[in-house]
């Protein structure tokens, strides 16, 4: 705890109070007051190695030796207010879930992403317009025409 306070004081001294507060808000320290999960992550982060940051800004940490095995890799989401597991892009998913030891950056360097679609997080419950609807779905605005015949058009011939 003392280390935390010392760190805070050093930060204020280096950046000035206003800058420090803005940074603290951006980094989600203010959310920590209400969000215990985030607070725990922040505390967890102390002394951990930052393994990488993905294109969305999610930070991936690892802490070996003194953490319980299986809990030694975690992510701090870029979005501090609304975060969920679907924000992790596929290249980092494997590393995060101990499927592979290759980090997302390594995987990206190895593979050519010729035909991969852009990763999108899951917006379920965030409003109909954000959710993916298949071509035939009633809520898809560009819905497919299921008419399988072409009707005779009187106007065309009358004109």
């Amino acid at each position: 705890m003392a280390a935390v306070v010392r760190g805070v004081l050093r930060g204020i001294k280096e950046k000035g109070l206003a800058n420090f507060l803005r940074e603290a808000r951006d980094e989600g320290y203010l959310n920590c007051l209400l969000d215990g999960n985030l607070l725990q992550t922040k505390i967890h982060n102390i002394g951990a190695t930052l393994v990488g940051v993905d294109k969305f800004g999610n930070k991936y940490y690892e802490k070996l030796h003194d953490t319980q095995y299986g809990r030694h890799r975690w992510v701090e989401y870029a979005e501090k207010g609304r975060y969920n597991a679907s924000q992790v892009p596929p290249e980092w998913h494997g590393w995060l879930h101990h499927i592979t030891d290759n980090t997302g950056d390594q995987l990206l360097a190895q593979k050519t992403a010729r035909y991969l679609v852009e990763h999108k997080q899951n917006y379920s419950g965030e409003g109909e317009e954000l959710i993916y609807h298949s071509k035939g779905h009633a809520l898809n605005p560009g819905q497919r025409d299921w008419t399988r015949y072409q009707p005779w058009e009187p106007k065309k011939e009358q004109a």
């Binding site: 399988r148 015949y149 072409q150 009707p151 005779w152 058009e153 009187p154 106007k155 011939e157 009358q158």
Partner: protein
């Protein structure tokens, strides 16, 4: 394993004995599971080794042994004794014994090639496996079909076939109904030993109907034999030798046959597939509906394969009496016409001359109002060439109830010969044509009017060198024929015995005269037909045991219309009509129609006649309704709905029934069976489905014709084979065919 084999075998035999049609459609590859293991073999072998019980023939087929026992012989197939007629091949003997031999090149309706070697079986005392399709069965032959020798031989053949066959089943349209795929499940290896490059072959352009992927070809030559023997166009051939061998036309040439679509069916692999159907659907997604074709008067048996509300393709069904297993290209590829130019809403032409969609209630009210404003004798009903018997019955009843007798069917001419049924039917029957030895075609070109009848004649000519004489305008034939003349004058010469063709007719055992229904349109048709009957009498064409005097009809509705008595004179009826009810009639001439006449068009396509219509009532097409049709030989058949009707369309007879109620002259039937009850009082033969009702009264009782015969030559009746009715005229594929294939 043994139990499974036995269960499969029993269930198969039970299946085939109960419904042979179903069993015929699913090919039964001889179970190879039983081949190697001794206990499985023991299960198949019966308990008593002396007398194994007989087995059902493949597909429940019946085998007729010749009456003379000396013409039959006995062979042993897998230990079972089979009696077969002399001249059967080993393969046929196995089929009689209930063993289906795998094959690629053998086709029961084509000549034997014996080049695929898939049908190898072991014959006792023969040093090598024999190709069963080409080997005549000999008395006492001991044939073994599931021994390790036979199995190994077939596996070797299959490996060679697969050597150069591309592995593109996932993108192949034949996938799922491919003989090679099926048989490789039984005889194919799970890995290849062939490490060289696969052969590739340039694709050939056979026209707008048949797509070729020649690399997939296994050189069975079925298509070459089909083109030569059945279609009668010698365009395809086997070019080159060895591994460079390929099927082709050598010079750039389209396949200009009206039966070319059948090569798609007989091709055992995906080398020849349907071009319009390419990549549209996989065959296991399709629902098959066994129905009949109405684009000509033959009534070919077809299966309409649909997916959801859409007809995806049309394939033939086997009917030995009508179309064997072929259908014409028009039948097969007209289906895209069912999806285009459809009438889906009732419409009324407003005062500005534009059509407006309205509800059924409004449309029927308007029609009923107009109906009451005209005099009864000014009402005329015309049935179209695709109408079914039920709707024609309803139309006739309705027009009669309104006080008019002017109801007719297009194509039947000014004075239809409806009094005697034998005067408008093909009395010999389509299958009966095979017994004929001389044909006299009067004013008919069967190749374009009824392609399946033409295929029968071609088959007969090829098999027996039957002579064909033709009277009519110069025409294309795919068999040898003599062009005797162009008009009635030649008929007179033959009737008077002055024509050289008379000697052929005189010496013929079973002469056949086929008169075209195009003659009905002529003013002097009575005189013509009496002259034809004179010829028939002179040359013994009609005898108690042989009726060779035939009329070849043009349209699906014609025979039923004549049975039901839709026989008004079109010219007079149209001239005097103030209220014209067109039930799908597009080809009737409306030039004489009074300007102020009110025209109701009831039909499924926006074709020729809608432009004159005041009210349009949408009805269902043949693929969407249950209807009775009578074909040109008098065989009654039903269509079965395969897909739902489009938009707001209704069945024809239902529309007329509803209109009759609105008009206050309600027809006394509410269901299809009630309409059929009504039909049974007029033409009971229309209820005997899939049966040929032969005419009972001979044409002897016909009164002599008093007309004068005109000397005008006969005209070509069908100008464009591919576009004869509303459906085929709406079809893009048919338009493409007439643009590329009819180009001279």
């Amino acid at each position: 394993m043994a139990f499974l084999a036995r269960a499969l075998r029993q269930s198969n035999s039970r299946l085939s004995s109960r419904c042979p049609a179903v069993a015929a459609s699913c090919r039964w590859i001889s179970p190879t599971a039983a081949a190697g293991s001794p206990e499985a073999g023991a299960a198949v072998a019966p308990a008593d080794p002396e007398m194994p019980p007989p087995r059902e023939p493949v597909g429940g087929a019946r085998v007729e042994l010749p009456p003379n026992p000396e013409d039959a012989l006995e062979v042993f197939v897998d230990g079972h004794t089979v009696r077969i007629p002399k001249g059967f091949t080993v393969l046929q003997a196995c089929e009689v014994a209930g063993v289906d031999i795998p094959r690629f090149c053998y086709h029961s309706r084509l000549s034997i090639a014996g080049n695929c070697r898939m049908c190898l079986v072991e014959v006792e005392k023969s040093p090598k496996p024999v190709a069963s399709c080409a080997m005549p069965a000999l008395p006492g032959m001991k044939i073994k079909t599931n021994t390790p020798v036979a199995k190994k031989a077939r596996e070797g053949v299959m490996e060679f076939l697969l050597m150069n066959h591309p592995l593109d089943c996932p993108i192949c349209d034949q996938g799922g109904e491919c003989d090679l795929q099926d048989q490789s499940m039984a005889f194919g290896a799970d890995r290849g030993r062939f490490t060289e490059m696969k052969r590739s072959v340039v694709d050939k352009n056979l026209g707008p109907l048949v797509k070729t992927v020649m690399t997939r070809c296994i050189q069975c030559t079925r298509c070459v034999r089909f083109a030569t023997e059945v279609a009668g166009v010698q365009d395809l051939g086997m070019l080159g030798r060895g591994s460079g061998e390929e099927i082709g036309t050598y010079v750039e040439k389209l396949m200009t046959s009206e039966l070319s679509g059948n090569v798609i069916d007989i091709c055992p692999v995906g080398a020849l597939t349907s071009k319009p159907f390419a990549f549209k659907a996989r065959n296991w997604e399709l629902k098959g509906t066994e129905t009949i074709d109405v684009t000509d008067a033959v009534g070919s048996n077809i299966r309409v394969d649909s997916r959801g509300p859409e007809v995806m393709r049309i394939v033939p069904r086997i009917n030995e009496d009508i179309n064997e297993e072929w259908i014409s290209d028009k039948t097969r590829f007209c289906y895209d016409g069912l999806k285009r130019q459809r009438l889906n809403d009732p419409m009324i032409r407003g005062p500005d001359g534009r059509f407006k969609a309205v509800t059924w209630r409004d449309a029927l009210t308007v029609v009923a109002e107009v109906l009451h404003q005209v005099k009864p004798e000014e009402i005329t009903g015309v049935a179209g060439k695709l109408s079914d018997a039920e709707s024609m019955m309803a139309l006739k009843d309705f027009v009669n109830r309104m006080g008019s007798d002017k109801v007719l069917c297009e194509g039947n001419g000014p004075n239809p010969p409806a009094d005697l049924r034998s005067n408008y039917l093909m009395n010999t029957g389509i299958a009966g044509l095979e017994k004929a030895d001389v044909f006299l075609l009067v004013g008919t070109q069967p190749r374009v009017e009824a392609a399946m009848v033409n295929a029968r004649i071609q088959k007969t000519v090829r098999a027996t060198q039957a002579k064909v004489g033709y009277i009519g305008p110069p025409a294309d034939f795919n068999y040898d024929h003599e062009h005797l003349g162009t008009g009635p004058q030649t008929l007179v010469e033959i009737a008077e015995g002055q024509h050289p063709f008379c000697s052929a007719l005189q010496s013929a055992k079973n002469p056949v005269i086929i008169a075209g229904a195009g003659l009905f349109e002529r003013e002097d048709q009575d005189a013509l037909f009496s002259r034809i009957e004179t010829i028939a009498k002179k040359f013994n064409v009609t005898r108690p045991d042989w009726n060779g005097l035939n009329v070849l009809l043009l349209h699906a509705a014609q025979a039923a219309a004549l049975d039901l008595g839709l026989v008004a004179n079109p010219a007079e009826s149209i001239k005097s009509a103030k209220f014209l009810y067109l039930m799908g009639a597009d080809d009737i001439s409306l030039d004489k129609l009074p300007e102020d006449a009110f025209v109701v068009y009831q039909g499924h396509h926006g074709d020729k006649a809608v432009y004159r219509a005041n009210v349009i009532l949408p009805s269902s097409a043949f693929s969407e309704k249950e209807g009775t049709y009578e074909n040109t030989e008098g065989c009654t058949q039903w269509t079965i709905p395969a897909v739902p009707t489009v938009g707001d369309a209704r069945d024809d007879w239902k529309i007329i029934r509803a209109l009759s109620e609105v008009a206050g002259a309600q027809l006394p039937y509410n269901s299809l069976s009630a309409v059929r009850d009504r039909i049974s009082t007029v033409a009971p033969n229309l209820l005997h489905v899939d049966e040929r009702e032969l005419p009972t009264i001979s044409s002897e009782v016909k009164p002599p014709a008093k007309q004068q015969m005109s000397s005008a030559p006969f005209k070509t009746v069908v100008e464009n084979f591919y576009m004869t009715d509303a459906i085929t005229r709406a079809s893009k594929i048919m338009a493409q065919c007439s643009a590329t294939l009819l180009k001279k």
